[in-house]
Amino acid sequence: MPLLKTPCSFRAVYVQLETQKDRGVNRVKLCVNSVTDWVADTGKMWRDAEQALTLMWLLSGISYGMCHSPPGRPRLTTCRSPEKETFTCWWEPGSTGGLPTSYHLYYRKESSLEVFECPDYHKAGNNSCYFDKRHTSIWIMYNITVVASNALGKAYSESVEIDVMDIVRPHPPENVSVTFMQTTNSPYFLVRWRPPRNTDTRSGWVTIKYEVRTKIEMSRKEEDSNWESYSAGKQLEFSIYSPQPGTNYAVQVRCKLDQGLWSEWSPSAFIQIPDNMSDTQNVVMITAVTLTVVIFLLTAGVLTVKMKPVKHFLLPPVPEPKISGLDTQLLKSGKSEEIFSALITPGYPQIAQSPDRQVECLVISDCDEEMDFDDKAHLENQKIENCLIDNAQKVSQNSIQITLNNSQDLNTTLSTVSNQLSATSSVLAEPQQLLHLYCNGSRVKAQDQNTQISYESECENVNINPAGLTGYVEVDKEKQDQKPLVGEDYSMVSDIISGNILVLQDSIPAQGHKEVKCDKTSEAEESGGVFEPLGYLETLTTFSSGS
């Protein structure tokens, strides 16, 4: 028997039974939909027909169950409000059940029981519902349900309760642009953007907050560098400093409203940083700095080495007072002898022949006069205190002027002596100079106090030694038998008058003459070399007489 073919979508079953008795062949005509199968059966037609019928009914029942069903339950996936003034909900359909299914969204507000239907199914795309401003209320709960319905039935989704303030998620910021700003020392790139569309950020209805992130794009390498995020507050631009030169950056921005959810990241904006940004600057700066350091070190070294000359050059030393011959080192050592000896240089001390300073006493008495021994006092009174020595001579300050009161003859003699003295050179220059005192024809009287011999003496040479060294004046007699210097023979000293006059006694008593010796010794000689500064030139008049 040929198979029954039963297509699924049959509408009617047409069974036609035809029997043809005359031929004895039972033909069962089975017309199914557009297909009609003629079944010819001889003899067993009735039985087959019954089987076919039951089979057909069974199949129709099964196929109807397979191809048509009520819809499956849809599911609300997400609801979102981009600006807290409108919101949209999306759902996911379940199975359709083979039949065209329609979806409806119904909602109920918090405290009321009235059910409303979605105001706009199309604005937000398929399977969505858009609530515009008129239909959006905030701070109340929406109870939302989606119903799927088809010919065979309906399906309800699970209800969802939402509050608009909880589902706020803005659109991403728009018109993100990046520009590179090349300033002198701190290059940066500036990111700018606009707020997301339709969002009221100015009235205070929402408080918006932005976030920027950047990444270095490496085209060749497989691995990507990480994003770096920066918080940008409410502003619409952001500067990122010190980018790496020669790299490509990608920049993205996103935003958030109040305490809600972050938006999607905006599409990337790219920027290429030029390569030679500040390399030359860096090189120049580095060389300049090193040069400065080197120069500085050199100057420091030079200064430390040549400290003194530089110091003298910059700060010339102030001249200090100095005494020539006075060595401060000697003062410190404390030896006075050396000091004083050092002081006495040939040119020092200068004999400033001030009038009253130099005192030379040359006492020459008249030898003709015979005086008694008793008149010694008289003699003393007469002469020696009157001995004045005047040093005020014209040419040489070493001239000695000797005046005596009692004898005019002596005066002339002495004036001659002074003339002679003036003719001589400086006493100081020739230490051993001997001054000769010439007595021209004059008589010099001397009286020896011990003897009463007076004699007429001839001119005697009076040697005046500058007392620079010896300090005494020698009187040379014309006679050969000159006595040694008084300093060597103190036995001849008979008297000392006024401290620096020694009276000598001549050792030729036989002649009966008194010889006058005018010796000059210095007290310095007697004291054995102790030097008196003022007494460098001392004269001593002696009376030599026979002892």
């Binding site: 003034e85 100015r202 205070g204 305490q259």
Partner: protein, 229 residues
């Protein structure tokens, strides 16, 4: 000598001048309702009020999250917002931006004041109740304490604001007679539920307060940008 005297004068100047510099925005606390000599500009007052409200809202958000975590750790799954958890207010609050756009400044201030006054006591209750929990996180307890204190200062600030904007007696303060029902906690579950709903609803109202104040500030300060929403 001269240098030292000059230096002393300069130091004295520097020390004394901040008082003169900061004198212009006089530091008046928001709570100062009796100070007659103390004045603060409207701008600053509004700014402070907005900052207060924003901060309170943020802290309430954090409190709710902390409470959620705590409930998870307790093993409870409270899905609170089943509609009627939040106590209805006596004064209807506008529900959308367009509605808010239409209401007056007086109405805004009125609403905010009512909300602030409503929540002072319940927050104190929540705080005391939280302290009785076994494992309540200290952050949550601290935040609830903080919120109740800040809410009181916000209320004072709103009173000052209303006096400045609306003048004396601008706000007809009707003391809301509704006393929130004191739940006699039958079980710990109920207590937890109550506390959670309090925090949840307070968060919502805090958001309302901050939104109203922000709009009010915009209206008062920057009229051009705010008239067209």
């Amino acid at each position: 000598m001269k240098k030292t005297t000059v230096l002393q004068v300069c130091v004295a100047f520097v020390l004394c001048s901040p008082q003169a510099v900061t004198g212009s925005p006089v530091d008046c606390p928001d709570q100062d309702t009796a100070g007659t000599s103390c004045t603060i500009s409207l701008e600053k007052l509004l700014e402070r009020a907005v900052q207060h409200a924003e901060l309170i809202y943020r802290v309430s958000e954090e409190s709710k999250l902390l409470f959620d975590e705590m409930l998870i750790s307790f093993g409870m799954n409270l899905h609170v917002p089943e509609g009627t958890m939040c106590a209805p207010k006596t004064v209807p609050v506008p529900m959308s931006k367009s509605e808010i756009q239409q209401i007056s400044d007086k109405w805004i201030l009125h609403s905010v004041l009512i909300l602030a006054q409503f929540w002072i006591d319940p927050l104190v209750d929540v705080q005391t109740s939280l302290e009785n929990y076994e494992n309540a996180p200290s952050a949550l307890v601290n935040r609830s304490k903080w919120m109740s204190s800040k809410l009181m200062s916000l209320e004072q600030g709103i009173l000052v604001l209303s006096r400045q904007i609306l003048g004396e007696g601008g706000l007809a303060l009707e003391v809301p007679e509704e006393t929130p029902e004191r739940f006699v906690s039958s079980s710990s579950f109920e207590t937890v539920r109550r506390d959670y709903s309090a925090i949840y609803c307070f968060r919502k109202d805090a958001h309302k307060m901050q939104t109203f104040l922000k709009l009010l500030k915009c209206r008062q300060i920057d009229k051009e940008n705010c008239t067209f929403f």
